[in-house]
Structure formats: structure tokens, C-alpha cells
């Protein structure tokens, strides 16, 4: 366990020295600052004051809706997609950097199993990504809670689909990192899968069915849709959670978890067999 925690700590120190991560915290911090300024503008403050429940009108639903709308714009629209890109870039280099000549030899000579070594790196990446999500989503929640007095936990739960979506992408990223030792190839493939392929498959009835008219072709396309990361659907789930709506389809979350587990396992298998 001590050896595992050492590799975890080394990973965290590596990520913390990453300029992209520092850039993220600066930009996210500025975003939160801009939000503080925005909700303290005279018009917005007046609107919040008008929506506050009073003894005559104790219903806080309108104020909660107001907060959720802000959440939807800041987290669901601005943060969700841009953060997945940033998180991919931050974590893409973790495994390939460990596998560089002159680095991997040092790690492999230590009495730690290769599986522990790889999962120390993976877990380090996940912890940092979770910290980033908590920083921004928690920050928005705190700012609105303090300003409006609405401490609705529902928007906080939107962290879950963001994290699970990332786990699916990160699994692919780690697998490509182990097999190709290239962070750039990992970034390109994940962006293609989670962006272009996912969006095209989500709209397959209007984009792909016409190109492949047969039933078998449609079945293959549907199968691809099931196994590929469903980024836009995950974003919808995050949006529904923020609005306090009941989520009826958790399949994209299950799919992302499965993809993550499958590719982490494949990466571990490949890393265990690899010679350097």
C-alpha cells in the first residue's frame, strides 16, 4: 500500500506541475470571479431580491429555477464540454511519461507490481480531475448558495455524470498511452471518438442511416452507437440533474463506466506483458 501511495503522490506532483492544469485553475478561478461580479450587478441583485420568498409568498421555486438556469449555462453548457477537453489534455501524458526510456526502467526495478504502478498513475489522474470538477462546480454552487440562500444539492450531483463521462474517455486514453506511448495519438483518438464519432452516432437516424440503407447496416450502426462513448447523452443527463428532472436513461453512464473498465483492464494486460 505504501508503494502504491508513493506512485500516487508522484503522479499528483507531476500533474500539479502541468501548465495546462495551472491554466485551468486560473481560467476557472477567473470564471468564478466573473460569476461573482455578474450576480452582484444591480439588475441581477434586484432580480434575486424580487425572487426571494417572503412570508406572503413563501414559495422558493422561482428562485431555485433561476439558480438552476445559471447552473445550466455555466456548468452544463460552458464547463462540461470544455472541461472534458482540458481534462483529456492534462491526463494524456501521465502514462506515456512514465513509459519513457530512462524513466520506466527506474520504476520497474522497484519492488512494485506493474499493475499497481499503472493504477497509481491512473488513480492520480482521476483524483486531479475530480478535484478540478469539485473546484468549479462546487465553486458555482457556493457562490449561488451564498448569494441566494438556495442550497439545493441537485446541481452538485451533476459532478457524477461529468466524472463518469471522463472515466470512459480516460480508459481509452490510458490504453492508447500504454500501447503507443504517445500522448498526442491518445488525445486525437479520444477527441475523434468523444466528439465527432459520438455526435454522428447520436444523430445516426438523420446522418448515417441514409448512407447505409440495409437493416444489417442499421444494426451495425446501432451497435457502434452502444459501444462508443455517448458524450452528448451524458451532457443531457448532467443537464437533467441540474434542473432537478428525473433521469430516465442512465445507459450512457453505464456505457461510459463499462468502456472505462474495459480499457483500463486492457491497458493493464498490455502493460504487464510489455518489454522495454
Amino acid at each position: 500500500m505504501r508503494r502504491f501511495s508513493a506512485i500516487l503522490r508522484e503522479t499528483l506532483l507531476e500533474v500539479l506541475s502541468n501548465k495546462v492544469l495551472i491554466g485551468f485553475f486560473v481560467i476557472a478561478g477567473l470564471g468564478l470571479l466573473a460569476m461573482i461580479i455578474a450576480i452582484n450587478m444591480p439588475d441581477t441583485s434586484a432580480k434575486i431580491a424580487r425572487l426571494q420568498p417572503t412570508p406572503d409568498f413563501p414559495d422558493s421555486a422561482a428562485l431555485e429555477t433561476f439558480v438552476r438556469e445559471w447552473f445550466s449555462i455555466s456548468v452544463g453548457f460552458l464547463f462540461y464540454n470544455s472541461f472534458l477537453i482540458v481534462a483529456t489534455i492534462i491526463t494524456a501524458g501521465l502514462v506515456p511519461s512514465m513509459m519513457r526510456k530512462g524513466v520506466i526502467d527506474l520504476y520497474l526495478s522497484k519492488p512494485i507490481s506493474r499493475t499497481q504502478l499503472l493504477f497509481g498513475k491512473v488513480l492520480g489522474g482521476l483524483i486531479i480531475v475530480l478535484a478540478c470538477i469539485i473546484f468549479f462546480v462546487g465553486g458555482v454552487w457556493l457562490i449561488f448558495g451564498l448569494k441566494t440562500g438556495v442550497w439545493d444539492p441537485a446541481p452538485l450531483a451533476s459532478m457524477f455524470p461529468i466524472m463518469v463521462s471522463f472515466i470512459g474517455m480516460y480508459g481509452i486514453l490510458v490504453f492508447i498511452g500504454v500501447t503507443s506511448e504517445s500522448p498526442f495519438l491518445g488525445i486525437i483518438i479520444v477527441f475523434l471518438l468523444a466528439g465527432l464519432v459520438s455526435a454522428t452516432l447520436a444523430n445516426r437516424e438523420t446522418t448515417l442511416y441514409g448512407l447505409v440503407p440495409s437493416d444489417i447496416g442499421h444494426t451495425v450502426i446501432d451497435l457502434l452507437y452502444v459501444i462508443m462513448p455517448q458524450t452528448s447523452e451524458s451532457a443531457e443527463i448532467a443537464g437533467d440533474i441540474m434542473y432537478g428532472k428525473t433521469v430516465t436513461n442512465y445507459f450512457p453512464m453505464i456505457q461510459a463506466s463499462f468502456t472505462g473498465l474495459l480499457f483500463f483492464s486492457l491497458a493493464a494486460f498490455s502493460f504487464k506483458r510489455k518489454e522495454f
Binding site: 508522484e10 507531476e14 506541475s17 527506474l106 526495478s109 522497484k110 519492488p111 512494485i112
Partner: protein
């Protein structure tokens, strides 16, 4: 086990490694290598680039798998976690994470090696002092010179007080002062009972440090033995005389080579009796001898001889 007592520090039996390159192409990097190392020995593995030295070390560390043969570190199969608990390793061209300080690196690699708590604190202090990096402990490694990084590498390799230390080109690219410092550290480690497996093409370094050497070429051992055995030249003696008396030596039987300016002579003598007869002849010619000793080759001469023969 040897004599039913302590296990050998390293036992290698017929180790071979062949790299497959696809389409049936294969490179035999290591061919049936065998070796036994006792505790406290310094062993030097020599060879030109591509001889198979690094492949051998990586096989012993479990970084690559042998095609055939087997090896044990203190009776544990190489590559196993138990075997790696007893070793330290400094790879060639190692790259430490530049964002870490020297102390952070020592702490992380110490914990990875199974050392922790106050023992680790004390070990870090002791080793940073030994490699003369104590004042640099809080500085980021990216600011270290090549020699400092090499010394830090050596310190991390020693962090768990390993019984077997593998060093791959430890003094490569280091200035003479740095090389001397590293040599001193290695001698200190040897005195503490550590067995050292030194992989190098810096022949003078190996000659200064090792008890035994092997020369590897194209994956095969072409010479092996103690440094003294390998560098000895049987039946050849070096004699030192007054250069002014060089003329008196002309015509002496058994002279292999004479340098009149420095006053040295290489004399072939099949036995000690023959040597004394020839010395008597020189004395009859009033030649004053300053020294007589068996001739020794340098490891460098031996290395070139055996590689050229290949």
C-alpha cells in the same frame, strides 16, 4: 545455496534473449550467459555498444523476459517482486521527473523500495551527504548538472541498502572529478557489503573498481576472469634500467621491446630460471637494474585484442 550457507547474490544460468523483429527476423542479443556473484564483489561487464550488456541487466531486472535460461537474485527468480526487494538500479541515460526536488525523489523512490518513516529520513540524510547533494536537496532536479543527477541516481539506487546494485554506465559523460566522487561512493557501498554489477565501456573505470570482469561481444562472453588474470602476460617481464646503458643491452636474448629513452625493456623468459640467467647476462654487462616485474596489459589492450579477434 553455496556450501549450504549463504545464497549467491546473483546466479545466472544459460540466459539467452532473442528479439523478434517480425517477418521471421530475429536478433540474438544474449547467448547462454552464465555467472555467479558472491556478496561484496564488484563485477564489471564490458563490451562495445550493442554487445548485449543492457539487455542482460534488463533481463535480470525483469524489464525484458529471457528467451531461455534462468537467473536468481538471492535465490529469488529475477523479475519477481521479492528479487527486486534486494536490488538497486541506476539505468543508463536515466531521466528523473524535473519537477521533483532531490529530496522528494529520494522519498518517493525510497517508499517504492519499501523504506519509510524515520528510517527513510535518516537514509535520505545519509545518502545526500554521501553524494554531496545535501545543500541541493530542496532544489528542483531540472536545475541539477549531469554529474549531480548521476550522483542523485546513485543515491536513489542505494536508498534501500540493496544487496545487489546494478549500474549501467554510471560515469558516462561525467568529468574526472565527478567520476572520482562516484567511484568513492561505490567503494563505500562495497565496503558496506553491497555486491556491484557494473556495466560500462569506460575501461579505465572498470579496471580501477572491479574484482572480476567479463567481456561481452555480440551477446557472447569472449573473456572472463579476475582483472589480474585477464591483464597478466605470462612469461613477459618489464625491466627498468638507466637509459644511458641502453647500448649494453643490444643483442640480449628474449628482448621483445625496448624503449631506450625511458629505460624500459620487455623481456621474454619461459621460466624464472631463464629470467635470472638473462638478468645475470645484463649484470655481466654492468647494466644497473632499477626494477623487475611481471608485465601486465591494461584492460583496454585486452578489450581491443579480444574484440578484434572476433
Amino acid at each position: 545455496m553455496k556450501n549450504g550457507t549463504a545464497p549467491l547474490t546473483l546466479r545466472i544460468e544459460q540466459l539467452s534473449k532473442t528479439y523478434r523483429k517480425g517477418r521471421g527476423d530475429a536478433v540474438e542479443a544474449l547467448k547462454s550467459f552464465s555467472l555467479e556473484l558472491q556478496a561484496g564483489e564488484i563485477f564489471g561487464l564490458l563490451g562495445p555498444n550493442g554487445a548485449g550488456k543492457t539487455t542482460l541487466v534488463k533481463t535480470l531486472l525483469g524489464i525484458v523476459r529471457p528467451t531461455s535460461g534462468r537467473a536468481f537474485i538471492l535465490d529469488h527468480p529475477v523479475g519477481s517482486v521479492k528479487a527486486r526487494q534486494h536490488i538497486g538500479y541506476l539505468p543508463e541515460n536515466h531521466r528523473f521527473p524535473g519537477h521533483l526536488s532531490g529530496e522528494q525523489l529520494m522519498r518517493i523512490f525510497g517508499e517504492l523500495s519499501g523504506v519509510s518513516g524515520k528510517k527513510l529520513d535518516a537514509r535520505i540524510d545519509e545518502l545526500l551527504e554521501l553524494v554531496e547533494l545535501r545543500e541541493w536537496r530542496a532544489t528542483a532536479i531540472r536545475k541539477y548538472s549531469k554529474g549531480m543527477q548521476q550522483r542523485l541516481g546513485l543515491a536513489q539506487a542505494l536508498i534501500s541498502k540493496p544487496q545487489l546494485l546494478f549500474l549501467d554506465e554510471p560515469t558516462d559523460g561525467i568529468d574526472p572529478v565527478g567520476r572520482k566522487r562516484i567511484r568513492d561512493v561505490l567503494i563505500h557501498a562495497r565496503d558496506q557489503g553491497t555486491t556491484i554489477f557494473l556495466n560500462s565501456h569506460l575501461l579505465s573505470e572498470v579496471e580501477l573498481l572491479t574484482d572480476r570482469v567479463a567481456i561481452l561481444n555480440k551477446g557472447t562472453v569472449v573473456a572472463a576472469g579476475t582483472t589480474e588474470e585477464l591483464t597478466a602476460t605470462p612469461n613477459v617481464y618489464t625491466l627498468e634500467f638507466d637509459p644511458a646503458q641502453a647500448d649494453a643491452i643490444n643483442g640480449l636474448e628474449g628482448v621483445k621491446h625496448m624503449d631506450s629513452s625511458s629505460g624500459t625493456l620487455e623481456l621474454l623468459a619461459e621460466s624464472v630460471g631463464v629470467l635470472n640467467q638473462r638478468i645475470d647476462t645484463l649484470r655481466q654487462h654492468q647494466v644497473l637494474l632499477k626494477a623487475v616485474r611481471p608485465k601486465r596489459n591494461t584492460l583496454e589492450q585486452l578489450f581491443f585484442d579480444v574484440i578484434e579477434q572476433q
